[in-house]
């Protein structure tokens, strides 16, 4: 495959809705992904508000427990598959061709398709809320036999997951094809920006595990409708096998959601520290080792199912090992800051918060890896706190940082720095008020996924809910700033940030519809 497969230089594109529907342009598709993700972020966020409202005090005030379970399940599915993953694909679409000096993604028509599957997948998923028996309520992990108690929604949910999987796989194939085929000739692999590297590795993870998820849910489907007994103990099957298969997908999945975040932060910190990234090569190797390890740690999600001792020991040791490459990354970021000349614009603030708060999530992850202690932590709010530190203050903060960082490049206008900082401080304070107390709740014995709790858990839940509402509301400011930048008046320069280096900063802002029709030369 070569760059010539792309239709370069056809300039009479349609306008209006058809422009977006038929677009094969990586920037348009990137924009579509990002707007879709933003929408889902608010949909999933609204569900989180229902959850936090019900948990504001003990007793049931707002919703029935069954609806509560629908909310926790849907919140997770929407946030993971609708908000975080599409956001990263959107960033990949926009930035990878610009960063490697290619004219577009390698497979533009497939690119269009992989995006346009998503609105349909999520229309199906969200419509289950209105079906008899309601939306899925057995948790996003879909464990049988509970998941088989779902109502009419069951086949729809599975079909929606298949669609999301197809979309992700196509997106991943496109990223790999682009990185290997569309680079400017002088852009060697070890010169690629770290965001490109982390995405390359993520794309392989996606291709490896999305089919596994598809297989697992298909087996659920046949168990439910075609009389198979894959996971039905009474028929000779094994409900625990589902968990093994699910987490063989699920653990790499969490790295799918964090590796590109590492990439974004590794772009931003050097820019605002005005200093090259420390340990570039070790960053690449650390990313690759994390990806490898992610395949052999899955059963740490299921220490309590009753595995043989040898299994428990293996998964404990393997999981602890992940701390090493992850630590290398954090140390490298700190070393990048060291003796730099830092400024603290909004993207940098979010990136710094990422380093601090993601590390807290890493610490609790290390604690969870200790199998005997996990027998206490497992399925409590401690776990909820842990994965929200890595996913919200980790993945989501990195996405927000990336959006502020590249927004002027996309729209050609600056956002208001003062309001951006306000957004940062509000988000950072509230997100900690929201999630930090959940560590205490979990340690003190509050299980996760419950709509109501014993009265001794009241105080921290109230505080957590207040943080939740505050964090939710603060994101309206984010929305406002994006709109402001789209419609803005203050023009951005090509380089946008004083310390920014890389090909994407050599094209004008906003980046023209077609860039790098002739490959640039990388110094």
């Amino acid at each position: 495959m070569t760059a010539t497969t792309h239709e370069v230089g056809h300039h009479d594109e349609p306008t209006g809705f058809t422009r977006w529907l038929f677009t094969t342009n990586h920037k348009d598709i990137g924009t579509l992904y990002l707007l879709f993700s933003l929408t889902m972020f608010f949909v999933g966020g609204a569900m989180a508000m229902v959850i936090r409202a019900e948990l504001f005090q003990p007793g049931l005030q707002v919703v029935d427990p069954y609806f509560f379970n629908q909310m926790t399940t849907m919140h997770a599915l929407v946030m993971i598959f609708g908000a975080v993953m599409p956001a990263f694909v959107g960033l990949a679409n926009w930035m990878i061709p610009l960063m490697v000096g290619g004219p577009d993604m390698a497979l533009p028509r497939m690119n269009n398709w992989s995006f346009w599957i998503l609105p349909f997948a999520f229309a199906i998923l969200l419509s289950t809320l209105f079906m008899p028996g309601g939306a899925p309520a057995g948790g996003w992990t879909l464990y049988p036999p509970l998941v088989l108690q779902m109502g009419t929604a069951f086949p729809f949910v599975i079909f929606a997951i298949h669609l999301m999987g197809i979309s992700s796989i196509m997106g991943a194939i496109n990223v790999i094809a682009t990185i290997f085929n569309m680079r400017a000739p002088t852009m060697t692999l070890m010169k690629m920006p770290l965001f490109v590297w982390t995405w390359l590795i993520t794309a392989y993870l996606l291709i490896a595990v999305m089919p596994v998820l598809a297989g697992a849910v298909t087996m659920l489907l046949t168990d439910q409708y075609f009389g198979t007994s894959f996971f039905n103990a009474a028929g000779g099957g094994d409900p625990v096998m589902f968990q093994h298969i699910f987490w063989f997908f699920g653990h790499p999945e969490v790295y799918i959601m964090i590796l590109p975040a590492f990439g974004i932060v590794s772009q931003i910190i050097p820019t605002f520290a005005r200093k090259p990234l420390f340990g570039y090569a070790s960053m690449v190797y650390a990313t690759a080792s994390i990806a490898f390890l992610s395949f052999i740690v899955w059963a740490h999600h299921m220490f309590t199912v009753g595995m043989p001792l040898a299994g428990e020991l293996f998964f404990m040791y393997a999981t602890m090992l992940i701390a090493v490459p992850t630590g290398v990354k954090v140390f490298n970021w700190v070393a990048t800051m060291w003796r730099g000349a830092m400024t603290f614009e909004t993207p940098m603030l979010f990136a710094l918060a990422f380093v601090v708060l993601f590390t807290i999530g890493g610490f609790s992850g290390l604690m969870l890896a200790i199998a005997p202690a996990d027998f206490q932590y497992h399925d409590t709010y401690f776990v909820v706190a842990h994965f929200h530190y890595v996913l919200v203050t980790g993945a989501v903060f990195a996405i927000i940082a990336g959006v502020y960082y590249w927004l002027p490049k996309w729209t050609g206008h600056m956002y208001s720095e003062a309001l951006g900082k306000a957004h940062f401080w509000l988000s950072t304070i509230f997100v900690n008020v929201l999630f930090f107390p959940q560590h205490f709740l979990g340690l003190a014995g509050m299980p996760r996924r419950i709509p109501d709790y014993a009265v001794q858990f009241t105080d921290w839940n109230m505080i957590s809910s207040i943080g939740g509402f505050g964090f939710g509301l603060s994101q309206l400011l984010f929305l406002y700033l994006i709109i402001q930048s789209i419609r803005g008046t203050r023009n951005a320069t090509a380089q946008v940030w004083e310390g920014a280096k890389g090909l994407e900063w050599e094209v004008p802002s906003p980046a023209p519809h077609h860039t790098f029709d002739t490959p640039p030369v990388v110094k």
Binding site: P58, G59, L60, Q61, D64, P65, Y66, N69, G133, G138, G139, Y143, P145, L146, Q149, G151, P239, A273, R274, K275, P276, L277, F278, G279, T304, E312, M316, V324, G327, V328, V330, F331, A335, M337, R339, A341, M342, T343, F344, L352, V356, T359, F363, L366, M367, A371, P372, F375, Q376, H378, D379, F436, L443, A444, G445, P447, I450, D452, Y453, V455
Partner: protein
Amino acid sequence: MRLSKRTVLMVGALAALLGGLVQPAFADYALNMPQGVTDTSRDIYGLHMTILWICVAIGIVVYGAMFYSIVKHRKSRGVQAAQFHHSTALEILWTVVPLVILVAMAIPATGVLVDMEDTSDAEMSVKVTGYQWKWHYEYVDEGVGFYSNLDADSQEARRLGASRKPQSVENYLLNVDNRLVLPTDTKVRLLITSNDVIHAWWVPDLGWKKDAIPGYVNATWTQINEPGVYRGQCAELCGRDHGYMPIVVEAKTPEDFKAWLAEQKGGAANTAGGDAGADAGQQTVGTDTETVEDQSDPAGETTARADTGAQGGGSDSAAGGMTKEALMSQGQQVYSARCVACHQADGQGMPPTFPALTGSAVVTGPVDDHLDMVINGSAGTAMQAFGPQLSDAEIAAVVTYQRNALGNDTGDVVQPSDVQAAR
């Protein structure tokens, strides 16, 4: 000016974060993991605190370097950015040092794990079975077993829009009708399984949780050091009422435990004729224990006692001829305690998973089919067999109630004797 303010803010934020991490060490149960009452739970608490302090120490170093850099190495101080970008020595150092720390941590963790998995030499066994949404306990080889449901007070206060406040209930959501009684200083093996979906049995003071999985029997053990009452909950999402299936363990000294067990067996000997039919007998005894302690109204209690006698083989004391009013009022109680979770207070259920009872063909059709459904359940669905869980009078009452309330009006009155005949 602005600068220093910012610095203060950041340092403040750091202090708050670290403070949060450190705090649990000094606080009580509400902030930190309980130390618990078993050697295992203490070991786990020790591991938890060790790893926590290791994390705090690493955090201080990393965050310290980072914040020092943020304060000192900022452009506004007129610094010039250095341009170094790697140091092999440093990179090897911060790969090896964490590895060493991890190995140091893995060693004690391995020891505790090996110990936890050793279920040999247990002095007694209890089989724990999860149901949607209650637990069943069976003292293996003792012929004693019973169900354990959420207590009535919590049941009342937990409803959406209930007038009773959770704060007015002692041990809200952490109390049951029948406690699991265990002896102290005795290695007890727990055999954990499930009748329907996956649950998890967890009492923090004992130090662990274990999944209850249909088709599996998970063996684990505990040895409680101090008499007392220890509370926990189901920890694996198991459907609508996952939050409402608590666990209460009462640890008694071995002597008190023996006395308690004898008392339970005494009830069994009177009624079920000793341990003649070990298997069936256990279930019957279970029913007995439960209903006797469960019923709050005296009428129900006597009926239940008499009733167990009937199940034991003699029909002498079967309470015949309850009035329709009595059946309806008891039926409503049973319905709201045991059936609403799936079939809903108004009988509309949550179709298609949980069918409506209003206008249902079973409920408005022949009484025998209705009784069969309630006594034997429906295999492969969430509709469990209530025969072993409820007394004849309770089943008669709830069936009568379903046939004459919830929008149904068949006029049928079902008597305990009908239930006995249908069993």
